[in-house]
Every structure is written in C-alpha cells, then in structure tokens.
C-alpha cells in the first residue's frame, strides 16, 4: 500500500484554536478539552496541535521537531542538520506511553541556528535558508520528516484522536499564547504520522477542515517557486501559498487571505473603482492561488492567527471573544466547553477572513 505523500488521501475533520492576544499563557489542557468535545468529527487516524510561545528560553533558536522511521534516517538527517545549522540542544521530545497511540516513529527535537558560513555561501536570508533546508530533508532523506521548524513554537502530531495525541505529548505541561488543534478523518489509513495536521513551515502552522478541489492547480502553481508538495495534503499546499505570498511577495496577511478567498466576479463588478481594480488584479495575477472547495482554515504564526472560510462557506467555523482571548472551533459547543460565557459569538463568513494579531510587550518582529 502506498504511503501518504506517494498517494493523496482526502479527509474531513475538526479544528479549534485559542489565542490570548496580549501573550497571556493558556495551558494545553484547555485546547485538548475543546478539541476532545468534537471527537466524532475524527476517526482516530490523525490529530495534532500547534503551540506558540512554548520555548521562551530558546526564543532565538529554530525548534526542529523531527520524525524518524529508522535509525539510518536519524543518522542521515542529523548529519545534514549538524552541517547546515549550529545545534545547541538535541533531545527526544518527552512523551507518555499510552495504549491509544501505537508504534510511531522516533520523535526528536533540536534547538539550532543557521550556520552563518553555509548561509552566506548559499546567499540566502535566514528564513529562506531554513525553509529550503527543511524542504530538502523532507524530500530527499528517506524516513525523516521535519514536522515543525519555527522559533518559539512547535507542532505536536500523531496518528490517533487529538485528545490522545495531547496526552501522548503531555501537552498539559506546556503553556502557550496561541494554540491550534486538529482532529482528522482520513479516507485511507495514513500510517505515516507526518500526514497528520497541523502542517508547518517556519512559524506557519495550518489546520484545515475540508477538501480543496483546486489542489492540483494550487500545487502546480506553487511548485514553480521552489516548494515541493511532499505530503500531497491540502494543508501543505495552503501553508506554502501563505509563506510565498507573505514572505516572498511581502503582502500583508489580509491581502494574502484575499488572494486565497477572492470574491466572485459578480460581486467585483459592483464594487467601486479602487476595490474593483484591486480584486481584478488579484484574481488576474494570482489565479493559480485561488482556493476552491470547502474549507475552514486556521493559520497560526508568530504574528497572530488568521481564520478563513471558502467563498461559498461550505464548512463550519465559529468564533468567539472574551477579553484578550479569542476562540475558534468547528462547532460552537467546543468553544463553550472552555469558555461558557463569551462576550461575542459569530460564524466566520465565507471569504471574510478574521485576522487577530498578537500584541506582545517588548516583542520585535519575528
């Protein structure tokens, strides 16, 4: 049977997120509680979390989380990492053995900075260098997969129900100012933990509920720019689209959201001249990045959280706010179980992105 990545496995799911805009700490048990309520939206074949602000003592280092299927994979990958980066810490990610999570890969974590000599030789800036190294490992080193590569953040994922994955990684021992979570319902047995969500590159993490019918158009568009869609998942291609538009093209995050969820022509035709020109140009220049098909997506980053729905609003996504905190989930009940009395609750609208920035004191741009 083919491994995920050699074959494309569509899936349906549950997503959730909690953010404290001022950087207040949220314990992992809260997000686990939220996603656990939506148990029936998954089938136990994938679950995962992304957490931001969890490594304050290693803020300036890239935190690589890596899956290894074999001992040889680890040897090859470490040889690559130790050459291209200065690795400060290398350790196994602490996990708890539980019945619900069966034999998985070895899971390691490295805190590292790019080796400045190699970076200079490659003539790339730090982010491009790191991104390309991650893509290289994932594409070329058999059995190794870097599933998290951001600073002061990390993804934790496995094959299992998300609440079990949370227990496995002991996420109640982590506090973060932004959590996203995902429970997966794939239509085939993935068998390779890397296919679970969130998908990550640098500090972008994407959790996604839906199936994009424009996948191959998007993949063939983005692969022109150095990305390789190794996992063949929707989440992967969406992550790369955002990385490309925001990091390479320097578009503001709300403009990048407009690219993916651009309004329909009959709406554009009725707009005022300035907006009409803006959206027409977006659709003309970025037609390959338009995402079609049902989706609710939560994009996490060190800048904040972006929640978007497809233009036809074919997937549920509820949002709520209370004080500095905002909550998102595929179902309102999953919000109310951790926040019984929110100040405001609404359904995220199709093609109307919600962007919540992090306002952390004394923090510079990541």
């Amino acid at each position: 049977m083919q491994k995920e990545g050699q074959i494309r496995i569509p899936s349906g799911c549950a997503i959730a997120a909690i953010i404290d805009r001022k950087g207040g700490r949220i314990n992992g048990s809260e997000i686990i509680k939220s996603i656990a309520l939506m148990h029936d939206r998954s089938n136990g074949l994938g679950g995962g979390f992304a957490a931001y602000g969890i490594y304050p003592d290693h803020k300036e280092d890239y935190a690589f989380h890596v899956f290894y299927e074999t001992a040889q994979a680890r040897k090859d990958c470490e040889k690559f990492l130790f050459k291209h980066f200065n690795v400060n810490i290398s350790e196994k990610i602490p996990t708890k053995k539980i019945a619900a999570i069966e034999n998985g890969p070895d899971i390691w974590r490295y805190f590292a900075n790019p080796n400045k000599v190699h970076m200079k030789e490659a003539r790339l800036d730090e982010k491009e260098y790191t991104a390309q190294c991650v893509i290289r490992v994932n594409n070329k080193i058999e059995g190794a997969f870097i599933f998290s590569s951001g600073k002061n953040m990390g993804c934790f994922k496995a094959v299992g129900y998300p609440e079990d994955v949370g227990e496995f990684y002991m996420l109640d021992q982590y506090d973060a100012y932004l959590w996203t979570a995902h429970g997966r319902f794939p239509t085939n047995t993935p068998g390779w933990w890397a296919g679970s969500h969130p998908f990550n590159l640098l500090d972008w993490s994407v959790v996604h509920n839906g199936e994009i019918s424009s996948y191959d158009t998007n993949r063939r568009y983005i692969e022109q720019y150095g990305y390789i869609c190794t996992m063949q998942t929707d989440t992967e291609v969406i992550t790369y689209l955002f990385d490309h538009l925001i990091r390479h093209h320097e578009l503001p995050i709300d403009v990048a959201a407009d690219v993916l969820t651009a309004p329909e022509w009959d709406e554009i035709d009725l707009m005022d001249d300035e907006n009409k020109e803006y959206f027409t140009n977006i659709r003309a220049v970025y037609s390959g990045a338009l995402v079609n098909g049902p989706f609710s997506v939560i994009l996490g980053s060190n800048k904040g959280l972006l929640a978007i729905n497809d233009r036809l609003k074919l997937r549920s996504l509820t949002a709520a706010t209370k004080g500095d905190r905002a909550y998102f989930a595929s179902e309102e009940s999953a919000i109310r179980i951790v926040c019984p009395n929110p100040e405001k609750v609404w359904s995220v609208s199709g093609a109307e992105p919600v962007f919540l920035s992090l306002e952390l004191e004394g923090e510079d741009e990541a």
């Binding site: 199936e211 019918s213 093209h249 329909e264 140009n281 220049v285 995402v291 098909g293």
Partner: protein, 500 residues
C-alpha cells in the same frame, strides 16, 4: 481521358417522393442536379457530388439521400483505394494534392481516452443552477507579484489584459477562405458573447471595422493587410508562426477565391493564388521573434497584448518556452487536427502532433521553469464538444480556440472541399450567389447558441467536480484520468490511469 477514379458518392432520389420542383438544381453549385430535355424531370449526375447535403436538406419532400459509392477493389490493407486514387490524380495533374479542413486520418484522439472527475462524499459538488459558476478568463502577460499599498489598494501597473466572458474564442479563419458574411457572423457573435474572433491572414474587411475591438488581428508570414490602423484597433495581435493543419508552410488561398474584395483586403492581384511564405522572412531565429514582438508593441504603444501562434510539433515545449522568454504575452498551440481552407494533403495528414500531448508538455515545461503564471496559454486543433474543452483547461490551457465547430454551427457539413470555393452553404466561398445564402442576422444566433450551450455544459462539469471558478480548473490534472493508454502517454499527459 477515361475517368480512372470512381466517384465518391451517389445521389439517390426516391421517385415516389420527388415532385420535380427543381430546388436541388438551384442549390447545387457542383452542378450535380439538372433538368431533363423536356424540363419535366430532375436528374442527377453524381460525379461531382461532395456530400455537402445541401440538396438533401433543401428537398421539401425528403426525396434525396447520399450514399457512398462502393466500387469494390480487391482487399488490400496496404494499397487502399485512397492511396491508389491519389496516385491516379497525380498522374493526371502532376500536382501537389490539395485538401481542406482538419486531418481526417484515424490517429488516436486523446480527448476520447481521458475521463473527468466528480466530487462525492469527501467534498461536495456545486450546483451551477443555484450558485455562481465562473468562466470569466483574463488573457495577457501577468506580473509575478502584485504590489499593494494596503488591502483594497493595488499599485502595480498591469500590462494590457483581455477579459473574456467565456474560455472559448473563434479561431483564425481569413476573409478569403471564408465569406464576408461568415466572418461578420463570427464578429457579431463574438461581440454579443463577450469573446473574440480572429481575422486570420486576410486582413480586416472595412465592413467589419465596427467590430475591430473584438478582433484578434493576425500578422502572418505574408503580412496581408497589416498596417498601423489594423494593429491599433484590435483586441490583441497574433503573430502566426504556423498552424496545426500545415506546420512548416504558409497559408494558402487558391486564386479562384481571390475576388475584388479579397484582393483589396489582402493587397494582392485579383485571381492570384495567395500563398504565404513558409517562414516569416524576418523570423529566422528566436531572437528575431523577440524583435518582431517588440516592434509590434512599439507600433501599438504597448497597449495591445501580443500573441504567438505555433503549430504543435516535436519540440513544442522548448519552442513555447522560447516564445515566452521572447516576450509573447499569449501563446497559442495549434494541434495537428486543426482545420484549414486549403492545404497539401500530405502535410495535413502527416505533419504535427496532437494538441493534447503538445499542451500537456508545454504547460509542464513552463511550470518546471517557473514561468507558466506570467503568460496565457491557448489551445487549438479540434475541440468537438465542451468536454474536450474542460479536459484542455485541466491539462493547462487558459482558453481554447474553436473554428470547425463554429462553421458547423453555421451550416458546414464537413465535405472537406473548401479549397474549390464552391461551398453550397455560403461559408467557404466568394461567389455572390452562394455567399448570399448565409445571412449574418441568423447565423450569428446559431453561433451564440453554440457558445451558450457549451458554456452551460462547462459549468455543469465544473460544478460536478466541486469547482466554481475556471481559475481552479486550469492545470488541475488530478481531475483527469486516462483509460486505454500506455504508460508513456499517461506520463506525457501528466495524468494517472482510471482506478488510481
């Protein structure tokens, strides 16, 4: 000389039904029907019959039918009657065999071996009756990135774009190869349907100047009718390097079709064969193409996109890539099934490759080089139905050209003798008694009906796949599967096999 080639067809008249009204006599420009000596009976001589069905359609009692004339040859899988008869014709005339319309030989048709997807369970299909289904298509050079001041305000100066309300455009059919009435019908339909028609090599007739903003003007190797006004009043300019029906040679308008008007439009003598040179004599290499593109942009103040039309041949991927780097804003690939008003038979039937393979190869190469998103790709070379169009867009085309389909909508019955200039339907002729048979006021409606019908079918198929914008269908190869194809064919098309 004794006729050594049996005729092709027999006109069969049911005497019980025939009322001897003489309509068929008046309709047949080939002179097949005639009145007897006493003028009371209609008779037929089938020798010149080309099976255009004009008489069949016009017979008020349905008394006529056309049969294939079977004159049995001894079975020979190698020396088929066709090859034998062609030799006889050449022994008689000493000429190059001439023919019309697209390659009729039984080469594989890949559209018929490609299947489409539909969304089910994991992803819903979209209902085109109740939801917007977008087929608006924008052609032209695109910058790689957009500069914005903020959300809602874009500051990039965009190069000239052409906005179509459908991915279908009318392909090049010159005034000369077809009648003015036929071209006018195409022009009116293009205007009404939010798309474009193509002047072909014959220049733009003065009567069509009202439609010039819907015209794609061709700059072909003969440069017929090319002057500054022609270029500046167009929608976009197309450099015709080649066409799918006859790669490697220039256009051909037989002298019998060059009347006073054609001669004026093309700026050539009446009655002379208009045979365009094989290459453009100022394009002997890729850098020459860049120079011509630049000159055309200069002549039009950079206000018009410039397209390059090439025939699908063996190294198509490299040629397309070169044209893109030479400054083409739009690239048209014309496959070997493309139609023509006149072409040497051997070239039409043996030169060039299928559009399906050429399109797939070119699109993949442009993406490998990271330059696909900056240009628009148009496919041509036999689209017989809307499913062919959907498959072409999924392979990577932004838009497609149709020509034979448009002619059939106007009354063409594919008798494949356009080069004789005796088109009974008034389409591929300049004879006034024939051209008057095609009324643009009714013909344009037939064309609009065709475009409308195909637009709706395209929307149905897209909705079925869970896609509501043609932007998300373009290049979406995972929506296609092949059937009864070799590994190599699947590999070149870049699609999986049905069942995978």
């Amino acid at each position: 000389m004794i006729r050594s080639i049996p005729r092709s067809f027999t006109i069969v008249r049911d005497r019980a039904e025939c009322t001897n009204c003489g309509a068929c006599v008046r309709q047949c420009a080939n002179g097949c029907h005639f009145l007897s000596e006493d003028k009371k009976t209609v008779l037929a001589n089938s020798n010149e019959c080309v099976a255009c069905h004009r008489c069949v359609c016009f017979c008020p009692t349905g008394a006529l039918r056309i049969e294939k004339y079977i004159c049995a040859y001894r079975d020979n899988a190698n020396w088929t009657p066709r090859y034998q008869q062609e030799i006889c014709r050449q022994a008689e005339t000493g000429s190059v065999l001439l023919c019309a319309m697209g390659n009729p030989q039984p080469y594989p048709i890949y559209w018929d071996k490609i299947l489409l997807n539909a969304a089910q369970v994991t992803n819903p299909s979209i209902d085109p009756l109740r939801e917007p289904m977008e087929i608006r298509t924008i052609l032209g050079n695109k910058p790689e990135r957009l500069q914005v001041e903020k959300k809602g305000k874009s500051i990039t100066k965009m190069p000239p774009q052409v906005i179509l309300e459908t991915p279908l455009m009318f392909s090049a059919m010159s005034f000369g190869s077809i009648s003015l009435n036929a071209q006018k019908s195409l022009a009116i339909a293009a205007k009404n349907m939010g798309t474009l028609f193509n002047t072909g090599e014959g220049g733009l007739h003065p009567d069509l100047h009202d439609y010039s903003e819907y015209a794609i003007v061709q700059v072909a190797s003969g440069r017929f009718g090319v002057h500054k006004k022609y270029l500046n009043e167009s929608s976009f300019i197309e450099i015709k390097i080649g066409q799918g029906a006859k790669p490697g040679i220039g256009g051909h308008l037989p002298g019998e079709k060059v009347n006073v008007e054609v001669s004026q439009a093309r700026m050539i003598p009446i009655g002379s064969d208009a045979i365009s040179p094989a290459p453009h004599h100022d394009i002997y290499s890729i850098e020459d193409l860049r120079q011509l593109i630049w000159s055309l942009k200069q002549a039009t103040d950079d206000k018009k996109p410039v397209s390059v039309k090439i025939a699908a041949v063996h190294n198509i991927a490299a040629i397309v890539s070169g044209a893109a780097r030479a400054g083409a804003d739009i690239i048209v690939i014309d496959g070997f099934r493309g139609g023509t008003g006149a072409a040497p038979t051997r070239i039409r039937d043996n030169v060039g490759i299928p559009i399906e393979l050429a399109l797939a190869a070119a699109d993949a190469r442009l993406r490998d080089e990271g330059i696909r998103s900056s240009i628009s790709l148009v496919a041509a070379g036999s689209f017989r139905c809307s499913a062919d169009v959907v498959k072409a867009i999924a392979l990577g085309a932004n838009a497609v050209y149709i020509a034979s389909a448009a002619l059939i909508a106007m009354g063409c019955h594919m008798c494949q003798t356009c080069n004789t200039g005796k088109c009974n339907w008034g389409i591929a002729t300049q004879r006034p008694e024939l051209t008057q048979r095609l009324d643009p006021e009714t013909a344009h409606i037939s064309l609009e009906n065709l475009i409308n019908a195909w637009n709706h079918e395209i929307k149905e198929m897209m909705g079925g796949m869970g896609i509501n914008s043609v932007d998300s269908l373009c290049g979406n190869r995972l929506m296609l599967r092949g059937i009864s194809m070799t590994e190599k064919e699947l590999e070149i098309l870049g699609i999986k096999h049905a069942g995978e």
